[in-house]
């Protein structure tokens, strides 16, 4: 089937820390705050568990956007995890931007367990952004010979 006939359904991976953001996502759920089904959440203990390799792997396997959510800075369950995560992700995103990957495809948001609304708002805006960017070809394509 030719590609252009297919409706674009993005694949979006969300890494959520167990203590804040995953709970925030649960709260969004129990408050019935909708966001698109394109988002699939992976539970990690802390945002500092998210290895850049996971994010690159997702892109390489066809993800169109990857978002990472953690506790607000200062509120990390493990005290400092999100501070490390913040630096790691800042540098990684900057590198992706540097090699020409649209920086809207990656995002970090701090969402607390009490912020169900923020969780769904974040996901809605992220998905909207990914729709506007369309399919991710660049990260899957970097090594292909021209």
């Amino acid at each position: 089937m030719p590609l252009e006939n297919k409706e674009f359904k993005p694949k979006i991976v969300a890494f959520c820390c167990n203590w804040c953001s995953y709970a925030g996502a649960d709260l969004a759920g129990s408050s019935r705050l909708t966001y698109p089904a394109d988002v699939k959440i992976i539970r990690v203990p802390c945002s500092c568990r998210v290895n850049p390799m996971f994010i690159l792997r997702a892109f390489e396997k066809g993800a169109d956007g990857v978002i990472m959510c953690g506790c607000h800075p200062g509120d990390c369950h493990y005290s400092t995890g999100n501070y490390y995560a913040r630096r790691r992700m800042t540098l990684l995103f900057s590198m992706l931007d540097y090699i020409g990957v649209e920086n809207g495809r990656t995002r970090v948001e701090w969402v607390s367990a009490a912020e169900g609304v923020k969780f769904s708002d974040t996901m809605n805006s992220f998905v909207e952004k990914i729709y506007s960017l369309g399919e991710n070809v660049r990260l899957g394509d970097l090594r292909c010979k021209q």
Binding site: W19, G29, R49, G62, D75, Y84, A113, A114
Partner: protein, 662 residues
């Protein structure tokens, strides 16, 4: 290869109404490793758990995936069920197809597709799970209560009565908290001090309770069952052991201009002071900012008059380090700052006061000795207007978006007390809604209207206009009569919104307890675990968790105590086996992981290794599993991938990623 069973829960119609559960189960059978799949009405029910157990035994399952609600709800349930059936509990994974799927999506096809993907990710993960054994850690049989108000006192008493040691840390010079500042309490109009003081005395006399007043928590480390806390005992400059509480020093102190915190700054106190007569301990402190001796070096009168020789100007802050098994936060509240609400003229007129200030005015030990009078000129007011919801229910950035919950009732109380004691004083209340859920609460409010003739006007006040003659012109709405009212008053009382004690942010950070956008501590579950923080071993008592009145606070304080007792009663705790592990053959010994570990759980040892025949001694990382809390910071810092996290291994997470992106 694993033998995996997949169990899809309908959760009644919660899941089944939007997700085609049987299709999820059918699709599961096509996944690698899956040898069994079924769906059922309520997997968490006894019958559901029995199905899981039966499948484990009959099909010889080595891992299971339950597609159901959030793992934060029932992961523990299913792990226990698996364990009972002989499966290692860590061979269980949950696909959250309720909170993350059926509840947020409307389209059945779409939701089913997503549920299938979530199931696949869980199956892919469980394929790589390995059985884990929880370790054990000891429980220090001592509790810390932060805050010595009614919530903290009640929690401490309940824990102590169960036979455990409790320390109370209170920031101010005395326990008692906000309740000690109140005059009367609703809905029975008991004198606040009369019911609180006995509790304070009981706490201070209890052999299991140790009270640190004028002290603050400075540092917290460790984890559930084994917290280590540094407490800063601020220098009182008065020897607690020598002081007899005679009060002569306070009488003779020449510096009497400091504003009384206890009386909300409405009058003054001496530089050496006990905040109020019934203070516990009845030992004064020296306010260094106000003390002439500290400011100029001259004076020393208190020391001269003290027969016990208790005054010690050289006293230094002291740090006490203590271990605790459980920590209860009971930090309470304060009223919000009214700087941004000057349409009510709070900063412009002394006769515009907050309700808490009115408590002090009405109290016999207060600045007016209990006489209702204007603070500007001491005259008896004839007309008092109460304004409700000052700063509460405000979604702009001036106030608080929540209802402070206690104001409707205490305003009715104030109105009633004033009308009772001063029948010639007219009382008007401007309200938006009168909220009186609670036993005997609405009856109480109606009594204020019907029996005491308090004039309730539905509508907010727009502006309080001080008049040249000292009166206050109140311009408000009467929404029922649809008119704008201009009414003169002698006093205006503002039902000021309450907010968590500002220190709570700092404390929450130390405890790694989560906090919401309004600085209230978050409970582990809004309905089912209302007195526990999501951080194990931390419990919540009183207003630090949300606005509440005294009966509710006391009830919650008891509940928090029970939870803490439940923890302290255990000799050992099972530890989380999802900890980091270092592969000696891959470890470079570079110390990068050690640098990011927040628990000091990683150390380095020279170890004899056999790397494919090469025997050598290498410097390698070793994780102390009792200290590791499983955050995973080290796993990402490690460039070689030697450090991995059990239960959330690199390969497991990558398998999930792959399954989702497939």
């Amino acid at each position: 290869m694993q033998r995996i069973g997949v169990f899809v829960c309908h959760c009644g119609s919660n899941i089944a109404a939007t997700v085609d559960v049987s299709k999820v189960a059918e699709t599961a059978l096509m996944e690698p490793g899956v040898v069994h799949a079924e769906d059922y009405q309520y997997m968490c029910s006894e019958a559901g758990q029995a199905k899981i157990a039966a499948a484990i035994q009959e099909k010889g399952l080595t891992g299971i995936v339950v597609c159901s609600c959030s793992p934060r709800m029932h992961e523990a349930t299913f792990r226990k069920a698996a364990e009972r059936a002989g499966l290692n509990p860590y061979m269980v994974e949950i696909a959250n197809i309720r909170e993350h799927c059926s509840w947020i999506h409307k389209d059945m096809e779409e939701a089913t597709k997503k549920a299938v993907i979530l199931m696949r990710a869980a199956v892919a993960k469980v394929n790589l799970n390995t059985p884990l054994q929880a370790g054990e850690s000891r429980v220090t049989k001592r509790a810390l209560v932060i805050g010595g108000g009614i919530a903290g006192i009640q929690t401490a008493l309940d824990i102590a009565d169960a036979g455990y040691e409790v320390d109370i840390v209170e920031k101010t010079p005395s326990i008692g908290g906000r309740m000690s500042q109140l005059d009367k309490t609703f809905p029975t109009l008991d004198c606040s001090a009369c019911i609180l003081t006995p509790k304070m005395v009981e706490a201070s006399a209890h052999e299991k309770i140790n009270i640190y007043t004028y002290s603050e928590v400075e540092k917290v480390s460790g984890f559930v069952g084994d917290f280590t806390v540094d407490i800063r005992k601020k220098a009182r400059c008065v020897d607690m052991d020598k002081c007899t509480g005679c009060g002569v020093c306070q009488e003779k102190c020449p510096s009497k201009k400091a504003l009384s915190e206890f009386n909300r700054g409405l009058n003054t106190r001496s530089a050496i002071y006990t905040p109020f007569a019934q203070a516990i301990p009845n030992v004064p402190v020296i306010d260094r900012e106000a003390c002439i001796k500290f400011k100029t070096g001259k004076c020393g009168i208190c020391s001269k008059v003290c027969q016990a020789g208790a005054i010690d100007y050289e006293q230094k802050d002291e740090i006490i380090t203590e271990k605790y098994g459980a920590i209860v936060v009971a930090t309470g509240f304060d009223t919000i700052n009214l700087d941004k609400y000057d349409e009510y003229a709070y900063s412009q007129s002394k006769d515009v006061i907050t309700s808490l200030e009115l408590e002090r005015v009405m109290n016999a030990a207060g600045p007016t000795h209990g006489h209702l009078e204007r603070l500007s000129d001491g005259k008896a007011p004839k007309e008092i207007i109460f304004i409700q919801c000052v700063g509460s229910r405000c979604s702009d950035d001036r106030g608080k978006p929540y209802c402070s919950k206690i104001c409707c009732m205490y305003t009715a109380k104030h109105a009633m007390l004033i009308r009772d004691k001063y029948p010639d004083v007219n009382v008007t209340v401007f309200y938006i809604d009168v909220r009186t859920p609670g036993k005997n609460f609405d009856e109480f409010y109606r009594r204020a209207v019907e029996q005491y003739g308090v004039n309730y006007i539905k509508g907010q006040v727009g502006k309080v206009i001080p008049q040249p003659d000292g009166k206050l012109l109140v311009q408000g709405s009467d929404l029922l009569d649809n008119r704008q009212i201009l009414k003169e008053a002698d006093m205006v009382v503002l039902a000021t919104a309450i907010e968590p004690n500002p220190d709570v942010r700092k404390i929450a950070t130390m405890l790694t307890a989560s906090i919401d956008t309004n600085n209230f501590l978050t409970e582990a579950h809004a309905k089912l675990r209302p007195v526990e923080s999501p951080t194990a071993g931390i419990f919540l008592s009183g207003v630090c968790q949300g606005p509440k009145d005294i009966p509710e606070t006391v009830a919650q304080a008891g509940a928090a105590a029970v939870k803490a007792i439940g923890l302290l009663a255990k000799d050992k705790l099972l530890t989380n086996p999802c900890t980091a592990q270092s592969d000696v053959l891959l470890c470079n010994g570079c110390s990068t992981c050690e640098n990011v570990c927040p628990y000091g759980a990683i150390s380095y040892e020279d170890k004899e290794v056999n790397d494919h025949g090469i025997r050598e001694t290498r410097r390698v990382a070793v994780v102390n599993n009792a200290l590791c809390q499983g955050c995973g910071a080290c796993t990402v810092a490690c460039p070689s991938g030697a450090m991995d996290l059990q239960g959330f291994s690199n390969r497991q997470i990558i398998a999930e990623v792959d399954a989702i992106c497939r």
